[in-house]
Amino acid sequence: MTKLIYELSRPGKRTYIPVKKENISSKFPHELLPSKFIRKKKAYLPEVSELEVVRHFTNISQLNVGVDTNFYPLGSCTMKYNPKISEYITQDSQFKDIHPYYPEKFSQGALEILYETASYLEKISGMDKVTFQPAAGAHGELTSLLVIRAYHTANGNPRKKVIVPDSAHGTNPASSALAGYEVIEVRSNEKGMVDCDHLRELMDEDVAAIMLTNPNTLGIFEQNIKKIADLAHEYGALLHYDGANLNAILGRVRPGDMGFDTIQFNLHKTFATPHGGGGPGSGPIGVKSHLVKFLPVPHVEKKKGGAYFLNYDYPESIGKVRAFYGNFLVVLKAYIYLRILGERGIFETSAGAVLNANYLLGLIKDKFDLPYNERYMHEFVVSTKRYKDKGIKALDVAKRLIDYGFHPPTIYFPLIVKEDLMIEPTETEDREVIEAFADALNSIAEEIDKDPDLLKEAPHVTPVGRLDEVWAAKHLILRYEKTEN
């Protein structure tokens, strides 16, 4: 069993010394602060050597699977290769050691990055103005909805409802609620697309926005997107593009051209930032010109002479959704990625993503159920429901994939497909990997007949076996309890 860093700790053990008392600063806390402000006990932190820190985190890192170690076809998350060059450049003091409140003349390089990256994203999305303040996709959804709300409010009425598809990601309804809207679900039809008839029924002047991702979470492109956009606009509602699936259409279709009014990008997905075990991401939003004035402040703008500056002078702005200007270092990674790809690379990326997904689907579709027999884009959803009577769930297949050396796909999402695996291979994997993964899935399908327990007890090769999530929720042990003074 891996020890926690606290379990390596012993009072007084240390090697790292952060500061040496200088002569210049010789006063003690009790000389400087009233005693009620001084904490009675030092904070309970581990007491270990620098070597132990390095060894501990090195060893636990090896308990992880990442894109760097294994195929990681986690649908909807675009777990593609993250170029190491971005890590290298963003560790440069020139970029990482800049204070956000530097006078502008000291941060021209950083402002240039923000400005230029915005212009690239504007071109890719067909939007008029991009801002980087949101810290992740969901944050960008919220910001977009607040912009939409500000727009409607300026037009006299914030409206009441946001429509999201039943296949939508959970953040879509959650963001809508957070923006103060009632969430209405529109059904998917038998093709896995928005049921336009149902949508028409739902539409009225209280609808503030429709949120869609296209291709949707099934990996299917909404054929009626123009109709949907027209319908929305007909009622004065705006259309928001959830950019989580932008990877599929890079260069091919632009959300702006499809009729979307706002978009949130997930830089960490489409633009190849490492996902960091959960983050940081970056969720910039782009809007059409009529919404620009509602964007968060400040805007990064360029003076006549070429100098960049921060413009706070947008009185109708929704304000701010986080401090400062966004996750700058993530933006910088997107900048690097985009410059490396360039015009051509953008097209090749979506081509590779869609080709890989379709090729993989072709290799496994005999053994798994395909809920919708449509054309797919960069990902697809299959179901294990035919194995239900053998007692096998999607979860079991997922866990068994681990034994074959693969990170499992997303499971149980979107909610409209039962027992589903949502598979996104991404463009950075080669044919051998795709085929090996298909072989694994197909051979697991055979194992279900022969030895279903192999799946139910999976994974077998991991440092811990299948973990009891119910126990965790019941006992709620959320920290290591103090064992010493």
């Binding site: 952060p18 932190l45 620098e50 959704v321 690097i336 590779g352 869609v354 709620l476």
Partner: protein, 446 residues
Amino acid sequence: MNYVPHTKEDVEVMLKRLGLNNIEDLFSHLPSEVLNKDKIGLPDDLTEKDIVKELHNIGVKNKDILSLSSFLGAGAYFHFVPPVVDYLSGRGEFATAYTPYQPEVSQGTLTAIFEYQTMLSYIFGVDVINASMYDGASSLAEAVLMATNIARRDKFLISSAIHPEYLQVVKTYTKNKGIEIVEVPFDEDGKTDIKFIKKHLLDVAGVAIGYPNFFGIIEDLDDIREAIGDLLLVTSTSEPLSLGIITPPGELGADIVTGEGMSFGNPLAFGGPYLGIFGTSKKYVRKMPGRLVGQTKDVKGNRGFVLTLSTREQHIRRAKATSNICSNEGLCALRAAIYLSLLGKEGFYELSEYNLSLAHYVKDVIIAKDGFDLRFASPFFNEFVIKTIYNPDKLYNYLLDKDIIFGLPLGRYRKDMKDSFLINVTEMINKRDIEKLEKALEGYHD
């Protein structure tokens, strides 16, 4: 360059298997009226050597901080980040994994976050810290939402001595939820006006206090706790290094603690990515936003870690979730865990003490000069407000020319503080910086 590994032959074979002739066929089902027929308009692709050169040229347009004496803080603190933090958090196994939905292949992330939760909970003196929020400002905003939700009241008091950008974020988050935000003024000592609070408790869910506040001042949290009875007390800490010395907000009765964790092993980074800290007591844990890692057992009874209480989250609860947060700032939290492990109990205390002591020394240096005085006579940690009799713009630029950033000119946020600067002193300020400042201020006049 691109990152698609296929050979021409691969593409042919794969397309053939799909019954397609060329790449465009993959997109042929897209309605032609939306299909893009043009160029996108991106610049040409670059090789790695060219992008490195190009970014070097852009980078030099940013000022090298080691050539400066910067007294800028105000929510973003220049602390030393030990290279161990960069190295370990940069390991691909950590950096290229995602949210640990599959715990058996994610024990690295889960263990580290569990450790992060533990460390932060003891630093803040609360039962539970979540796996991170976007930043200090959005953490505070979520705390206000959570508090109004718990109390089922839609009025909330906020100290106007809180970080002004945080305040803006709170307003943005709450505005459309029908929540009324009342700003509590601060008194002549730079502390939140407790008398005002007492007078405005009707229908209020709680109060949010900066701790230390925007001016670096350590508020009388105990008095405020007492003043508000059983209303909810929310705190916001943008310099959590202060908690090495000062009494943790949880111990003083804060119900929800929030903060900005960038000080713990994350670089200034022109404002992001940063690390939103969010904690509360066990009784409120089910109302909490954000992810939580909990301990559990595997099939053989071995200890392991998993995400827990996911039923609060958007991917399960959707519109009724406690928050919409999904991707968080996991890697920043990992960095904090590594950083705090490295400092350890003693190092954390020492560094905190050093900041406290050095800041007071610098304060003395400055106010010993003619025309400079302390604006607020209250206890502070590593940040304080200096007021001057001189023209603030001229003074600021004069010092800038000498590569000294004289903190944050407060006129930017408040008209009535045009004569004031928020000065921060961390361990990165050394003797030479102080001497440089001292010399520059010596005999300064407009």
